[in-house]
């Protein structure tokens, strides 16, 4: 097959793959929203502990984010590094 056409197909596949990888963003979105909602409830119940609640929530959110970050890293590698183009 023509190399240019093969390259085009591979790059199109990489772009679609990057888009699919970003579906991983759904999970952390739901999880962080849930955590933030619970934190809001906790602040409502106990306003004097606001500082502790906020720092705990931020820590938990940042750790829960990692699955989304994996998706992002995979998408960025597919988009900007193009690992499969070199294999044609």
């Amino acid at each position: 097959m023509d190399t240019t056409l093969a390259k085009a197909i591979v790059m199109a596949g990489s772009a679609i793959g990057a888009g699919l990888a970003m579906i991983a963003g759904i999970g952390p979105g739901i999880g962080q929203g849930y955590a933030a909602g619970k934190a809001a409830e906790a602040v409502g119940r106990q306003p004097e502990a606001k500082g502790d609640i906020t720092s705990t929530m931020l820590f938990g959110c940042a750790v829960a984010e990692s699955t989304g970050i994996y998706g992002l890293v995979v998408a960025m590698i597919l988009l900007f590094v193009n690992p499969f183009v070199g294999q044609i």
Binding site: A62, S66, I69, Y70, L72, V73
Partner: protein, 244 residues
């Protein structure tokens, strides 16, 4: 109209040992190291016991905040780790905040965050060996049953990988989104001013004033500070967990 998003560029190459490549990350990393060293020297010189100046008060405040954090998370036994945690925090935070000056963030490179994560793993293993002995450390992989040893080893590898990816991903996402935003704003202002026949005026990116600053507050200030806090927190929790 083209958007160019690349990794750290190679600035020059030292022609020894088959060529050592000096990337933007290494160069900016040394800027950060010099900055932090200068701050440490500047804040702590001419210290007195009576009537301290503003500089000394700032240094004492930073020190007591760091000690409180380390003592609160790791306990009194592990305050020896405070210098490392402080250095990690300062390097990570200033490395991320470097993007405010227009230079590339040091932590927007997987090599930097990977090195931090590997250092943490080495410290975890060293603490574990120091507390339980080599045999006890090896035995800890077979807990609670010997059957799940492979899973324990995988989680031991996955921990630094997730730590490195988390920090790198957050900062790199900020870089990508900011450059996409700049390109989009340039295109939009070109659309607005494009009818003016004078080429100089038509190319002024008028929409780039203001809006990127809002993004910068989130991606540079908030994310940079939060990720520095997270990586220090995870290091402290893992190390003190290994020493039990």
């Amino acid at each position: 109209m083209s958007v160019e998003i690349t990794g750290p560029r190679i600035l020059f190459e030292i022609p020894i040992l088959g060529g050592i490549r000096i990337t933007e990350t290494i160069f900016n990393g040394w800027i950060v190291i010099l900055l932090v060293s200068f701050l440490a020297w500047f804040l702590t010189r001419n210290m007195v016991t009576k009537n301290p100046g503003k500089r000394q008060l700032a240094a004492e405040k930073i020190y007591s905040m760091l000690m409180n954090l380390v003592e609160g998370v790791m306990g009194k036994k592990w305050t020896g780790f405070a210098p490392y945690i402080g250095a990690l925090f300062a390097y990570s935070m200033f490395g991320s905040l470097l993007s405010l000056t227009g230079l590339r963030s040091v932590t927007g490179d997987l090599s930097t965050t990977g090195a931090m994560a590997i250092l943490t793993t080495i410290m975890v293993i060293a603490t574990n060996i120091r507390t339980n002995g080599v045999f006890g450390w090896l035995k800890s992989y077979t807990q609670p049953v010997a059957l799940i040893t492979p899973i324990n080893i995988i989680s031991e590898i996955a921990n630094p990988v997730s730590m490195a990816f988390r920090h790198f991903g957050n900062i790199a996402a900020g870089i990508v989104i900011t450059s996409l935003m700049y390109a989009a704003l340039a295109a939009a202002s070109n659309l607005i001013l494009g009818w003016i026949p004078v080429e100089f005026i038509a190319n002024i990116p008028i929409l780039q004033v203001g809006l990127p600053a809002v993004l910068s507050i989130y991606f540079d200030l908030f994310t940079g500070f939060l990720q520095a806090y997270i990586i220090c927190m995870l290091t402290m929790v893992n190390v003190s967990g290994a020493g039990e």
